[in-house]
Symmetry: C2
Subunit: 221 residues, 2 copies
């Protein structure tokens, strides 16, 4: 399979959301034009994105909604449960723990860690907050595949190094800092301040940085 | 001024963070090579990103750290306070309200709204949660410039339409849904599930989607 770009994968997530809506509305087929219109992209882009993964749909008939939905879920690795740990039981960590969309998509937080002894031992919806000293042992024992890092910036690289050493290959980082991981590890970062700075740049400079037209990248969520 | 891409603006935010660190360490100059190394990009990219905004640094001498820091802050619209409202006083909203990095960069949440009458009237750090019915009136009266949307997906477009109608030109969206705004409005979306799906894709397909090498895009935060 050819190397697929991050932006293609992000669009697959978007198509998945649109297909879920169409499916709930009881629609059985959708054209690449309609998917493109709802996703703020072009029909050619939709067809190109899907072409990486095989043949979908029939010319002139469009895509069968339930079939494409199921195949996209499989491509994105969503046809299963992922065992996730959360490091950092602060405000951001707490919000992420309660974020229902994670569980809905198969991401199950099964362990929570914190360095603060006032937080360790607290019960979070049936899970006891664990001391970060136990991180490697628990990650291995629990078969954790993805770790969400929600610790202060200055602690983040240290946590990530330990997570990597414990064999975890997927990290979602919320700490506002640059992190290094070895090539075999996938790191995604969510930085809310960077997005706000993009807004203040656009507002200060009188341009719209969200994209060239309605429904472009920044609207895809 | 030429149209500046979103990715350039994101890198400016990154350079700003690096310069802040260098400044705290007492360093007075930095080369484009060193900025590039710390930011996971190339010296040519650093020079190109900065060239949109005028002349910086001297050949062979590098950039003066405090000067570049101040000019980047001005370019990003950070040399001032932004009046921000938060719509949605749930878990995500609460975490964002307490997120200190926002205030540090000049984004001040001065109004909080919710549709749930059990939340309306609560005191959040000196601010009383307001009923969402009052949204337009308060946005205008308070001179709000940026609105953070942290409501359920199905409510988000309705909130955004009202925010736009009230004249706000910058929106940061956390609802996991696609939103439409007119061209004069800048919309940025943070979608945590999409990032997790990018991880599960990479883990399922045995590739690292975070970038081609250490310190590339996904590490920039």
């Amino acid at each position: 399979m050819k190397k697929v770009s991050d932006s293609t994968v992000t669009r697959l997530s978007l198509y998945l959301r649109i297909l879920n809506e169409l499916n709930e509305q009881g629609l059985s087929t959708v054209s690449s034009e309609e998917l493109a219109r709802r996703g703020g992209t072009t029909a050619a882009q939709v067809r190109k994105d899907l072409s990486f993964f095989g043949t979908f749909g029939k010319r002139g008939l469009g895509y069968a909604v339930p079939d494409l939905l199921e195949r996209l879920r499989a491509i994105l690795g969503l046809g299963r449960h992922w065992r996730v740990a959360l490091v950092g039981a602060g405000k951001i960590g707490s919000a992420l723990f309660g974020y229902q969309d994670f569980r809905r998509q198969g991401f199950h937080i099964v362990a929570v860690f914190d360095a603060d002894e006032r937080k360790v031992g607290q019960w979070w919806n049936g899970l006891q907050v664990l001391p970060v000293e136990d991180l490697e042992d628990v990650l291995r024992a629990e078969g954790i595949e993805i770790v969400i890092v929600a610790v202060p910036a200055e602690a983040a690289q240290g946590v990530v190094d330990r997570v990597v050493a414990a064999g975890v290959r997927g990290i979602l980082n919320f700490a506002p800092t640059k992190l290094d991981v070895p090539p075999e590890v996938t790191l995604k970062s969510v930085n809310m301040t960077v997005e706000l700075e993009g807004l203040s740049y656009a507002l200060s400079n009188g341009e719209r940085s969200g994209g060239k037209r309605r429904g472009t990248r920044a609207d895809r969520s």
